[in-house]
Structures are given as C-alpha cells and as structure tokens.
Subunit: 336 residues, 2 copies
DNA sequence: AAGATAGGCTTAATCGATTAAATTGCAACA
DNA sequence: TGTTGCAATTTAATCGATTAAGCCTATCTT
C-alpha cells in the first residue's frame, strides 16, 4: 500500500535514484542518460504507477507550486467567481490554489497568511482587509511575492489588479443622472479601503458634474458584518429624511441584494419610483421584475492578470511593479 | 532574507536541533528537556520570528495536514457555500483546503485527484462526477481517506454525506400537489448520478401518491454544459406539448435560475398560472416578485459532517463506513 | 562503594526527492 | 601503449524537520 518512490523504481530497474530522477524530469539530455535505460525507467515508472511526491520536491527545490488565495469570503459570488478564474489560470502555470476567507478581519487575515507561509506557498493573491497594511508590508520585507486584488493600499507600493472603481462609479451615477434622477443616494460599506472610497468619490463627482447637490449626505455606510440588518434600517432613515430620493446606487453585490430586498418589501417600484444601479453583477438580477443596470467587473481578466503577475514575480522575471486597473462596463438594462 | 529554521535557533541558542524541535512541539515532558533551556529556546524562536516549515514536517511525518476538495464548480453558489463551511471546519482540525473544479467531467476529476495526490493531501472531500467510479475505487484500493458529498455511488461502499434527495423531492412535489396543481413538470439534469435519479424518483412517487398521472413524460433532462441554452428550449417544447402544465419542479439551483428566467420572459405568472418549487436555496429568490418555495439543504451540517468523517478516517479511528443522509427542509414561501 | 535511576542533551537516521561532483568504462588518438 | 575525452552512471550532500537511541553526569539505593 505504500506509495512508490523514485527509490522503488531505481531498485526495480537496478539503477541509482539519480538516474530515475533525471529521466522522469526529462533531464536526459543535460544528464546524458542512455536512451535504452531511460525508456526502461519510464516504462517501469508507469508500470508501478509512480506519482511524484510534490512535498519532497518542494522541500528540495524550495518551490511548493502552490499559491495562497485570501479573500473576504469564498462563499460570496464575487470571490467565488474570482477564485474559479484564478484556479483555472493557476493550473496553466502548474500551480495549485489553497484558499482562505478573512471575513474582512485583520486578525484572521494575519492568521491565514501565517498558515499559508508555513505551508510554503510560493506567493499570495490577496484581497486585503482593512487594517492589514502591516501584514502586507511584512510580506514585502520578506520578499514574498504577492498581488493584491479588488483593493490596494495607496500608501504602499505593491502589485495589484483592481477595478477602476472611481470611473465605474462615476459612470454609473452619471447614468442615473442622465435618466433625470435628481436625488441619488448611495449605499456603501463602512470601510477605509480605497475601493469603497473610490466608489464614493466617483459618486460624489458624478453628482457635481451633473449639477446635483452633493452636500446632502446621501451616502450611507453599512458595516460588513450586519448587512442584512442594517441595510433596511439605513435605507428607511434615508427615505424618511429625504422622501424625494429617486435613485439608489448600491456599492457592492451584497448591498444590492439587501437594498433591492428593502425596496421590494416597501413596495417601491423600479424604475418608476426609484432607479437603481448596482455594483457587481448577480444572477439574481435576472429574476428581478425590472431590468437592472449594473457595473460589470471583468472577473476573468482580473483573475488572469493576478496570476500572470504573481507567476512573473515568483519566477523573478519582474522586479518592477505591476499595477493594473481594469475597466468595468456599465451594463444598461433599463428599457427606454 | 532566508526563513529561519530550527537549525538557526539551535545555533543561536547553542543546542542541538533535536532540543529545539522537542520544545517547539511541546514535547518537553516526554523528552525531558530542562525548564530553563526550554524557555530560552522559546524566546529565541519568537525573537527570530520562526515559522515552522510545514513541508519539511509533512515529509517527515507523512501528514500534509491538507485536504483536497473537488467540486463541480467552485463558482456555483452551492459549492461555494459548501467550500466555506468545509474551510471553517477544516481549520478546527488544523487542516488546510486545496480545491479544484471538475466541471462534472471525469477526466478533469482524475486529473485533479492526481495533482492532489502528488501534493500528498491527507484525504479528499469529493462531489464525484458521472463516470468517476473507477477513480473512487482506486482511492479505496490505495486506502486513501475520502468522503463523497452531494452524490455517491450505490454500487460502491464508501463514506458519504448527502441530502436525502428522494424525500426532499417527494415532499416538494407533494406540496405542489397539495396546492391543487394537476400537471407538474420537472426539469432535471441529464445525469446518471444518484442525486438526480433520486430527485426524479421522488418526483414520480409523489405524483403517484397524489393521484396524478406520472406517465406523461413531464421530466425533462438538460445537459450540464448548456443549461442556459437548453432550459428555454426544453421548457418551450414542454409547454407546447402540454399547455395545461400548472407547476414546475426545478432540480437544482442553476436549473431554477434558468427556468424562472424562462417563465419570466414568457410572462407566466407565479403562482397564479404556474407554481414553482426549486431545489436549493438562492439569494436570487429574494428578488423574485413572488415568494418562492424551495428545498433547503443543510450546507453547514453537510460540511461539518464531511470534515468530521474525513478527519476520523485520516486518524484511523474509524474503519467502518459512515454514510450520512441529512434531511433538507421544504421552505414554503407562498402566500396562502 | 557499586550499581541503578533519572535527568538533560546530542547523535544520527530518516522522509523522497534534486543535482553538483565524482567515478567508471570504453573508444579514439598520438 | 598510454593518455585523453566523452558518455553513462553513481555517490553523496542537501532541503527542514522528527524521533529513537545513545551518552554523560549527578543523584539515589542498598
């Protein structure tokens, strides 16, 4: 029942383990291995059902061929989809993915980083949580390759792949204004992370450029851990304070779900009474009674780029920074 | 920049690596390590920022503390949610999760198993694809611990954790009949896997027991890879052949989405014209204009059980089989 | 006082690979 | 014939841990 090792093959064939290693790694040329014996070794390896022990390989080579993926929550469709694109792309580079969910908590993030470092991942793809700056700096100090996704820290020079949040947001809100909406509210996360701040900034600038009053404090922030509870409360307060709100811009997929649910429950009609634009796509939109306009992030591209950059970092080809802003598209679905 | 090893600590303190190992693994008692030196070692380890090399550990102990998770598609909410519960549960057992998506293809599944075996995972949690019986048998022959989830092979005696699909389905369709639906169609996957077959069987038995004709061939099967395209076609044919269909039972989350989309597009009113029950929950239901009744699988329980069983298998405590059927609940949402 | 016991620590083999360096055998060349 | 050169293969160190076994020294027993 024991797995067969290179040693077993060597013994079966009657050669040294070195030869077997050379052959099975296709280093016959460099190592000047004889043609016949190489073939014999190959046949025997197949016959015994040899499977290389990647752990042993890793220990010797210092490469685990594994990348650590840290997201806020793998069960969130946004991250689940990203994970899938990363999985597929990583496979092309012969990497395997270990994942972990930080729940947007810095301590969990640190814990995950430690665990993954102990497992000798060759690099990280991280959607960093608020307050994880030091963790990221520490990775940098240790010269451990990584790429940030979805968010980044403007104060730290790192590789990252993020959506152009400002532009996406700006475009979305301009669209609402173009629909003759006069009082556009935004529901965001309570977070100091750039991605949210940029979405808010895009919103505010779009209001200004549309000639709308941006001083009304129509941006409400919700804590990550209590979306379902808080969204309703916050939107209720907002509508009571400003009964003439005629549009909402939701800053994430979870916020959109909560927000739309609230609007449904309270019988607001979309788009007649209230117009809506959502950040992120959701298959749920297809079931909504009205066509919904949303910001579509290019997940496939993000995943591909992140893996590409990471792979280059790991192979040491790329000492310089790679900071990628991908453009998201506003998918307009309203009937005109 | 090199990571600090046990050797570095040993040198810094002036002892052998053995001592350091004993201390850092809390084996001081068994190994009779002196109190003072133990403390010195511990302090120095912290001071140097020592992080154990799990790879080296694994090589020596033969345990990678890693479990391989193979699902159809990590971006499918059902599997993404399961993955999350497995992640959390695995952490409690000090395991880390490597995942892979098989896309319901046996060759990809085999490929994933190989890759994960090379990485010396201690065990697998697998949602097996159609045609992967031999792969499962092979794992058994190699005495590699694993647990199947979501589906299993009746002809192979393995551990598994699955929903009681027959019962869930039966209950769902009985519910529809109880709503005075006379012609209930089912949309399923084209698959020989038990989970689907059991859902179909539950549907048929429910029809019979409700005094409804189950000979009408109202079950339509869709291929996994072309859901979006085929669901519409198939439902169209069905409605043309049987214009008096007054209910649909959808056999999975993706089928539900496609089916509901079709019903929406063709202006069927739910539940007035057509009643619907969906297998699996989806947050999308919250955005649907009508309350939807669905079968809720206890994902948390499934994940927990799967990890528990796997952990027991790995530790060798549990030679006997563990076959768990969890009950899913019919969440009735229609207004009465 | 001699032998036994226990405490404290080191030695060294091992896990399964990789790979630089050494070795062997043989043919070709001067 | 003796030397060189090259092809083919082996040797052995190494990666970073674990752990059984061994070796002192000091203390306890009788």
């Amino acid at each position: 029942m024991k797995r067969v090792s290179i040693k077993d093959i060597a013994q079966a064939v009657g050669v040294s383990t070195a030869l077997v290693s050379y052959v099975l790694n296709n280093k016959e040329k460099e190592a000047r291995v004889g043609q016949k014996i190489a073939e014999v070794i190959r046949v025997k390896a197949r016959e015994l059902g040899y499977q290389p022990n990647q752990i042993a390989k890793s220990l010797k080579t210092g490469r685990s061929q594994t990348i650590g993926l840290i997201v806020a929550d793998i069960s969130n469709p946004f991250f689940a989809n990203i994970a899938r694109t990363i999985e597929d792309e990583a496979k092309k580079y012969n990497y395997t993915v270990i994942f972990g969910s930080s729940d947007e908590a810095a301590d969990k993030s640190q814990n995950l980083i430690n665990i993954l470092l102990e497992r000798q991942v060759d690099g990280f793809i991280i959607a960093p949580t608020e307050g994880s700056e030091e963790q990221i700096r520490s990775l940098q100090d240790q010269r451990i390759p990584f790429v940030l996704i979805d968010r980044y820290f403007p104060d730290i020079q790192t590789n990252f792949v993020v959506t152009n949040n400002y532009q996406a947001s700006y475009q979305a809100v301009r669209h609402l204004a173009g629909q003759h909406r006069k009082k556009i509210a935004m529901i965001a996360y309570k977070s100091e992370l750039v991605h949210m701040k940029e979405r808010e900034r895009g919103y505010l600038d779009a209001l200004k450029d549309s000639g709308l009053d941006s001083d009304l404090n129509l941006v409400k922030e919700i804590s990550y851990n209590f979306i379902q509870r808080e969204v309703g409360e916050v939107m209720g307060q907002l509508m009571r304070g400003h009964p003439d709100i005629d549009a909402f811009f939701f800053g994430s997929n979870a916020l959109s779900m909560g927000g739309l649910r609230y609007l449904n429950r309270n019988n607001y009609r979309i788009p007649e009474t209230i117009s809506v634009v959502c950040f992120d796509e959701s298959e749920a939109f297809d079931l909504f009674y009205a066509p919904l306009t949303f910001v579509n992030q290019p997940l496939l591209e993000m995943g591909k780029e992140a893996v590409r950059i990471l792979a280059e970092q790991i192979s040491g080809k790329q000492p310089q920074l790679d900071q990628v802003f991908v453009d998201s598209a506003l998918i307009v679905r309203e009937k005109h």
